[in-house]
């Protein structure tokens, strides 16, 4: 009991480190984009922003539904923490659920509720539209994401993440023969983190959307939650698609950390590489392109799995 509590705190701390690393990288990329000669200010941007937000007074709004607003804001970070519980590092997970994969999926659906509540609670038009935008986007990305998650499960014959990871040990990593599922999964991670190309819910055209009215520690929680979700998405992809702790020379945990950091860096960098997608456009792409593509991918994986056993 005490031991698992200790490891839970360690996992939370590591997730925090990953989130800070992602925020730092984003700050540095932003500073470089602005043409700053010295990137130190960019790398330390998350610390400066945290200090600023911790000192800022909370904004009070007329007729805000404070309970739902605060719940939604905190739920992003909670969902990310509950997700890392099932991610195995070298075969060992905090909670090695037999349905770990479904658990991850259930937690990323709670982000729907969290983002909408953050938009709704503020009693502000911009924030509310941001919340609705996220649900519209959710209808486009969630089903392809779900099917993308089934592909490794079918190949490994298990919903337990440690077994999915073990199925790739010493063999072909799943990313090599299910690249479509991996790409769709990454898009899903970007979407449920309200990040980069799929960040219309917090778009600048909406004065920040769901972020518009957030201030002080509430804003800090939501921003930290977004980075934490991005980090869990990267960490989860490692046992699912990238062979888990599989790799030569270095110990397993080092490979896990290396792969997570690399994928996280790519996801962070996407923000400045791709334009923001409008939900009304993206819905059609999701249903007419992504969904058939990922279904074909699952078909291929299923045929291989049947032929193999």
């Amino acid at each position: 009991m005490a031991e698992s509590l200790f490891w839970a705190l360690v996992a939370a701390f590591l997730l925090g480190c990953l989130a800070v690393a992602a925020a730092s990288l984003d700050g540095a990329l932003g500073a470089r984009g602005r043409g700053a000669g010295n990137l130190a200010g960019g790398w330390s941007a998350p610390l400066a922003e945290t200090a600023r937000l911790m000192r800022q007074r909370r904004r009070t709004l007329v007729a805000a539904d404070v309970l739902l607003w605060r719940t939604g804001g905190a739920a992003l970070l909670v969902a990310a923490l509950l997700k890392v519980a099932v991610v195995p590092v070298d075969g060992w997970a905090l909670a090695d659920l037999a349905v770990g994969l479904v658990w991850f999926n259930a937690m990323d659906v709670t982000v729907w509720a969290a983002v909408w509540l953050t938009g709704w609670g503020a009693n502000s038009a911009h924030a509310l539209i941001g919340g609705y935008r996220f649900l519209a986007q959710g209808l486009a990305y969630e089903l392809p994401l779900m099917f993308a998650l089934t592909a490794p499960a079918v190949a490994a014959g298990s919903l337990r993440l440690a077994e999915v990871e073990a199925a790739q040990r010493g063999g072909a990593w799943f990313v090599l023969w299910m690249p479509v599922a991996f790409a769709v999964y990454c898009l899903g991670v970007v979407a449920f983190s309200v990040w980069g190309p799929l960040s219309v819910a917090a778009g600048v055209d909406l004065a920040g959307g769901v972020l518009a009215e957030l201030s002080g520690v509430d804003r800090l929680l939501v921003l930290a939650g977004r980075y934490a979700l991005l980090a869990t998405g990267a960490a989860f992809a490692v046992p699912m698609f990238l062979g888990g702790a599989d790799g030569p020379l270095l110990p397993g945990w080092a490979w896990f950390a290396l792969k997570t950091l690399l994928l996280l860096a790519v996801l962070v960098a996407l923000k400045r590489r791709l334009p923001v997608l409008r939900p009304d456009r993206f819905v059609e792409v999701g249903w007419l392109v992504l969904l058939p593509a990922v279904l074909l991918q699952v078909l291929v994986v299923s045929v291989v799995a049947v032929w193999r056993y």
Partner: protein, 190 residues
């Protein structure tokens, strides 16, 4: 010991948030109180080792409630959706229906002569679950296989009939207008 504590916490949470659905005065709060109730039930299912069903209940219900909140606010077109409003109407009939349902279900649970386990103990929970699945679905698989395509066809037909704009509106009488005339252009450029 820990299991009973968790069960009672979840049970009280499920009932309390179920009551809250009718006591709060906001659409959003009512919807998410219902979501909390369902999540508590889903987590309680984990206690009887129904892992998949429990987690999938959480997944489905959170998603459904997120979408339902949007529809409730949308169809309650007038201002009350955004203003404090009562979540109950037609109290007497509702109370009668609720009490009847509860009595029937609870009475059924208590009075039905449940079969005792005849087989030598299947040993594992998985064995029991498999036996239950066979008993419920085994002889009815053909029916289910026939019913599901019919249901899908019904859903598709319903959506087609309900759609305000069909392909002739989009593509013209000869279906040859390109690009299609859409009030809201899609992302694929059809």
């Amino acid at each position: 010991m820990l299991e009973s504590v968790v069960f009672w916490v979840l049970a009280v949470l499920a009932v309390a948030s179920g009551v809250a659905v009718f006591r709060v005065d906001s659409m959003a709060r009512a919807t998410y109180a219902l979501a909390v109730s369902f999540v508590a039930v889903g987590l309680a299912l984990l206690l009887v080792d129904l892992h998949y069903i429990g987690v999938i209940t959480v997944l489905m219900m959170v998603m459904e409630m997120a979408v339902m909140a949007v529809y409730m606010v949308m169809f309650m077109g007038m201002n009350p959706a955004l203003m404090p409003m009562s979540m109950v109407h037609d109290n007497r009939a509702a109370i009668a229906a609720a009490v009847t349902t509860f009595v029937v279900l609870a009475g059924g649970a208590l009075l039905v002569p449940w079969p005792s386990r005849r087989e030598p103990d299947p040993g594992t929970v998985a064995g029991t679950a498999q036996a239950l699945g066979e008993a419920i679905m085994g002889s009815k698989m053909l029916v289910m296989l026939t019913v599901s395509p019919a249901m899908v066809a019904t859903i598709v037909a319903g959506v087609v009939l309900a759609g305000a704009r069909g392909r002739y509106d989009r593509l013209g009488d000869d279906l040859d207008r390109r690009p299609a005339d859409d009030p809201q252009p899609g992302g694929v450029g059809r």
